[in-house]
Symmetry: C2
Subunit: 244 residues, 2 copies
DNA sequence: TTAATAGTGTCTTTTAGACAATATATA
DNA sequence: TATATATTGTCTAAAAGACACTATTAA
């Protein structure tokens, strides 16, 4: 680092005249969920003719007097019919390359959204949950804009935060079993985990889960009924749930 | 999550007409360094009269055809005389509350910058390195805008990433001793660490450091000469350096 | 009954942390 | 010499991981 006391340009307060642009600001949302034990990403088909055959993250431009979080929720609702006010929503990063959109300077604030599994499929004509293992393959969607750069960042963020935070609980319902929670880890990381060691780690991570009353019914294939749990107060996990 | 196939609003391609605003986009940089064993934050005095007595993160509005990273470097150079092309620079998050700047909608992309310690002080008239322990106290600076929300996020990001990544090496020179590296951890976390256990953890974290040739000279108080090291290839640490 | 899932026990290896002991410099 | 810093050694506790075993359901 070189810190020099050379002639310093004076600060330009925001809003005053300066050789700067006013960019369009958009929000794009990467919504992940676990369905049938597989990690899924929500994509929509933009109806711009030049993007026929491409899929995109649901995105909207930011309105006056609308917070970025509000824009994210609105993009999900308007473009995919997804109303998830309780979903986990966090900023991923902002993509602002001058050339990322050929039609002009658009700075996009990307969000990561995580929701519990539901059996509700999206309308396959306008929005679809894609298996993340298909992304980047021939069977997978072609992504519009620079969304092929955003999606890997979203996946890595989710995979990483499952290690050090209690974020996995955002993928399951209010009350859940440790088997359900384990299948979240397995789907997001793409691995299989030892149920015995997984249980011990979850229970020993202080504040990750608290026991709820009652037992869950086994699935159609049978099995011992599982204890039920709720999220605990912790957000960071000690000790962490490290990827194998 | 509720996914409904209700009437969907059609996608508005970026750049087309829509009830949206074109926000001013700015970049603010939280530059951290370690000086005399203490964590420091770079702040500048905005010369807007209504902000007299306040300090701010160096920030600039984004220019046409300028990437966000370029704006961050320009803000450091123009407002603080800091030219640090090799500094670690990463996005922190984007602050876009409609009311965060009273003079209009300004979306600010905040960056975290980390640089090695140098003995060069900034020009105390325009830019200054503040001890982070002073922030929020009576002796500390009053922060402008919403920078009192950005700074804690920057500190927590740095503290957290020291655990799981090799980012601490961004605070030291190309060749360094494990004592220097330990003092980075101690300064950023505000703790003191056992030198013996610290050494073992750093060396056993695969790819964190590699041994360099020669020994460093002891300081004025004496002491055994330390082995010299360089950064290794790893970015994520296994095992991690967990905060005590 | 068998198959499937949940949960416990046990053992080994790895890692964390406290702290004693040794090595090599400066003053 | 005393003091400061670096490095190694040793011991204990905690955590990770492999895997055998028990528990309770569905078909």
């Amino acid at each position: 680092m070189t810190i020099r006391s050379e002639r310093l340009t004076s600060a330009v307060p925001p809003g005053s005249a300066a050789p700067v642009s006013t960019c369009a600001v958009a929000v794009d949302v990467a919504l992940l969920t676990v369905l049938d034990g597989r990690l899924k990403l929500l994509l929509v088909e933009p109806d711009a003719p030049q993007l026929a055959g491409h899929w995109a993250l649901p995105g909207r431009r930011v309105r006056d007097d609308e917070s970025l979080d509000d824009t994210a929720h609105r993009a999900l609702a308007e473009l995919a019919g997804v109303r998830a006010p309780d979903a986990h929503l966090e900023q991923l990063r902002t993509y602002g390359d001058p050339s990322r959109d050929p039609r002009g300077r658009v700075v996009s604030v990307a969000y990561l959204a995580l929701t519990p599994t539901t059996h509700d499929p999206t309308d396959p004509l306008t929005a679809q949950l894609w298996d993340v293992e298909q992304l980047g393959t021939q069977d997978g969607p072609r992504l519009a804009y620079d969304h092929d750069r955003i999606v890997p960042d979203a996946l890595e963020r989710a995979r990483s935060k499952l290690e050090y935070t209690s974020l996995a609980a955002a993928f399951v319902a209010d009350v859940f079993t440790l088997g359900e929670l384990r299948r979240v880890y397995e789907a997001v990381w793409g691995v299989s985990l030892d149920p015995a060691n997984f249980r011990r780690k979850v229970v020993s991570a202080r504040g990750f889960v608290t026991e709820a009353e009652g037992l869950a019914s086994p699935g159609p294939g049978g099995g011992r009924p599982a204890k039920r749990y709720r999220r605990g107060p912790a957000t960071r996990l000690h000790p962490a749930m490290l990827r194998p």
